[in-house]
C-alpha cells in the first residue's frame, strides 16, 4: 500500500533523520566522539522502537525514558568532555554522570515513579547538558582558517543544546498538564509536536556536523 503524506506523523520525520544521522556517523567511527554519538543514536533508535511497540499496544512506555535519560546523559557528557580542554571541567562533567544516574534512580524510585513521564530527570539533564554545551562551545579553539560555522564540533554541540532548549520548557510543565483532565489530550499532542520539532532540528544540525567531518577530510586531502 503506498504511503500518503497524510500518513506521515511529525515523529516519522525525525525517525528518518535519526536513522540518517546514525548511518552517516558509522562512516567516521575512527573518531572517539563519533563512536559515542553512534552508540547514542543506536540506543535512541532501540528506545524509540520499544516506545512505538508499547504505544501500539496502549501500554505505558515512560519506563523506557527513565532508563534512556541516564544513558543519554552519560553519552552526551562523554562527547562534550572530548570537546573541552580544561581538566577541572572535564572532571566535573565526569563526576556528574554517576551523580546524575544516582539522582535519576532516586527520583524514579521515590518522587516520579516509572509510570510517569520523567520530567524532573529530563529537566536536570537538560540544564546540565546545556551548561556543558555552553562551556564546550566556548572551548572550541581555532586551529586553521575555518570559521566556527565550518566546524563539526560546533554543529554537534549546538544540536544537543538546541534540543534541550526546545524541549526543556515543556518537560517542566508536562506532568502538571497531564494531571488536568481537560488539558491532557492537548498536552500529549503538544508534547509530540515540540519533541518532534526539537528532534528534527537537532538531527538536522547533527547531519550538518557530520557533513563537516567529510568536508574537513576532503580539504585535508586536497
Amino acid at each position: 500500500m503506498p504511503i500518503r503524506c497524510d500518513d506521515l506523523k511529525p515523529q516519522d520525520v525525525y525517525y528518518i533523520l535519526m536513522l540518517a544521522c546514525f548511518l552517516q556517523s558509522l562512516r567516521y567511527l575512527k573518531f572517539y566522539r563519533i563512536r559515542l554519538l553512534s552508540l547514542l543514536l543506536f540506543i535512541s533508535i532501540i528506545t524509540e522502537l520499544c516506545v512505538e511497540f508499547y504505544k501500539c499496544r496502549a501500554l505505558n512506555y515512560y519506563i523506557f525514558y527513565h532508563f534512556f535519560n541516564v544513558a543519554e546523559y552519560g553519552l552526551i557528557s562523554l562527547i562534550l568532555i572530548d570537546c573541552i580542554d580544561k581538566p577541572i571541567i572535564k572532571k566535573l562533567i565526569l563526576w556528574s554522570i554517576p551523580a546524575y544516574a544516582l539522582a535519576s534512580f532516586y527520583i524514579s524510585s521515590y518522587i516520579q515513579p516509572v509510570v510517569f513521564f520523567p520530567a524532573y530527570g529530563n529537566n536536570i539533564e537538560g540544564l546540565l547538558v546545556m551548561s556543558w554545551c555552553i562551556i564546550a562551545l566556548l572551548s572550541i579553539t581555532p586551529n586553521d582558517n575555518r570559521t566556527i560555522f565550518q566546524r563539526s564540533s560546533f554543529w554537534i554541540i549546538l544540536a544537543f543544546y538546541l534540543y534541550f532548549i526546545v524541549t526543556l520548557p515543556f518537560n517542566g510543565i508536562f506532568n502538571p498538564l497531564m494531571k488536568n483532565e481537560v488539558m491532557r489530550t492537548s498536552a500529549k499532542r503538544s508534547f509530540n509536536i515540540i519533541n518532534s520539532v526539537g528532534n528534527c532540528c537537532s538531527y538536522a544540525m547533527m547531519l550538518v556536523g557530520l557533513f563537516f567531518y567529510k568536508w574537513k577530510k576532503s580539504i585535508q586531502q586536497s
Binding site: M130, C133, I134, L138, I140, T141, I148, G172, I173, P176
Partner: protein, 252 residues
C-alpha cells in the same frame, strides 16, 4: 496553574541567559581566531627571518672560508712569485723593463687580493664601520679604472655591526651587478641618515633591464631583498632613464 506559570517564567529566563551563551561562543571564537591568525603570522615571519638569517650566515661563512683560502694559498703563491722575481731582478743586469712591469703588476695583484680577502672576512669587517669598509671597497674598484663610483655619506652610522655588514653586502651585491650586467660608467652611492631611518640609494648609468634580463640577476636582486628584510628594512629596484636604481631603507 500557578505552578505552570512559574515554571514557564523560570525556564524562559534560563533560556534567555543560555541563548546569550551561543552569541558569546561565536564572539569568543572570532576573538580566538583573530589571535590565532596573528600568532600564525608572527610564527611564519619568525621562521622566514630565521631561514634568511641562516642563509646569510652560511653565505658569510663561505665568504670567510673563501677569503682565508685566497689569503693563505693564492696570496702565499703570489708573494713567493714576487720574491722570486725580486731575486731574478738582482741577478739580471740591466733589468728588463718587462720584468719591472711584471713585478709591479704582481704587486698590484697582491694588493688587490689583500683588499678582496679583507672585504670577505667577517672578523675584519666587524672591526670597522660601514663607511670605512665601503670607502676601501670603492677605492679598490675605482683603482681598476673601469668605472667611477661616487660615494656620499653622513659620516658614522648609528647601526649595530650585524646590520652594517648586511648593508655592506647589499652594496657589494649592487656593485657586482652593475659591473657584471649594466655596462655602466658611473655608480652613485648615497647614504642618508636621520633619527629614525637610514636610506641607501644606489644608481648607475648603465643599460637597465633589457630582453636578456636573466634569472641570475633576479636571484641577486632577491638576495638583496632578503638581506634588507633581515635588517627590518625595505629594498626596491626600478628603472629610470634606462638605468637600474636600487634603494634600501632601514628603520633604526
Amino acid at each position: 496553574m500557578e505552578e505552570v506559570y512559574s515554571t514557564v517564567i523560570i525556564i524562559s529566563f534560563i533560556l534567555i541567559v543560555l541563548s546569550i551563551g551561543i552569541v558569546f561562543a561565536i564572539v569568543n571564537y572570532k576573538i580566538k581566531q583573530e589571535s590565532y591568525r596573528k600568532e600564525k603570522k608572527i610564527m611564519l615571519e619568525e621562521f622566514d627571518r630565521q631561514l634568511m638569517k641562516s642563509q646569510i650566515e652560511v653565505q658569510e661563512m663561505t665568504f670567510g672560508e673563501l677569503g682565508k683560502d685566497l689569503h693563505d694559498n693564492v696570496g702565499q703563491l703570489l708573494s713567493s712569485t714576487k720574491m722570486l722575481l725580486g731575486i731574478t731582478q738582482r741577478t739580471i743586469i740591466p733589468v728588463p723593463e718587462t720584468l719591472n712591469l711584471a713585478e709591479q703588476t704582481l704587486g698590484n695583484a697582491i694588493s688587490e687580493l689583500r683588499s678582496l680577502t679583507k672585504s670577505l672576512d667577517k672578523e675584519w669587517l666587524e672591526q670597522f664601520d660601514l663607511i670605512t669598509n665601503l670607502n676601501t671597497e670603492i677605492t679598490r674598484i675605482n683603482a681598476a679604472g673601469m668605472l667611477t663610483i661616487q660615494f656620499h655619506h653622513p659620516g658614522k652610522l648609528p647601526l649595530d655591526h650585524q646590520k652594517q655588514i648586511i648593508l655592506f653586502r647589499i652594496v657589494q651585491e649592487a656593485l657586482q651587478n652593475a659591473i657584471k650586467h649594466a655596462e655602466c660608467r658611473t655608480i652613485a652611492i648615497d647614504i642618508k641618515s636621520n633619527e629614525q631611518v637610514i636610506s641607501l640609494n644606489i644608481n648607475d648609468d648603465g643599460k637597465g633591464f633589457d630582453d636578456n634580463f636573466n634569472g641570475m640577476y633576479i636571484m641577486e636582486m632577491l638576495t638583496t631583498l632578503f638581506r634588507a628584510k633581515l635588517t627590518q628594512g625595505l629594498a626596491d629596484f626600478w628603472v629610470a632613464a634606462n638605468a637600474i636604481k636600487a634603494r634600501t631603507k632601514i628603520v633604526i
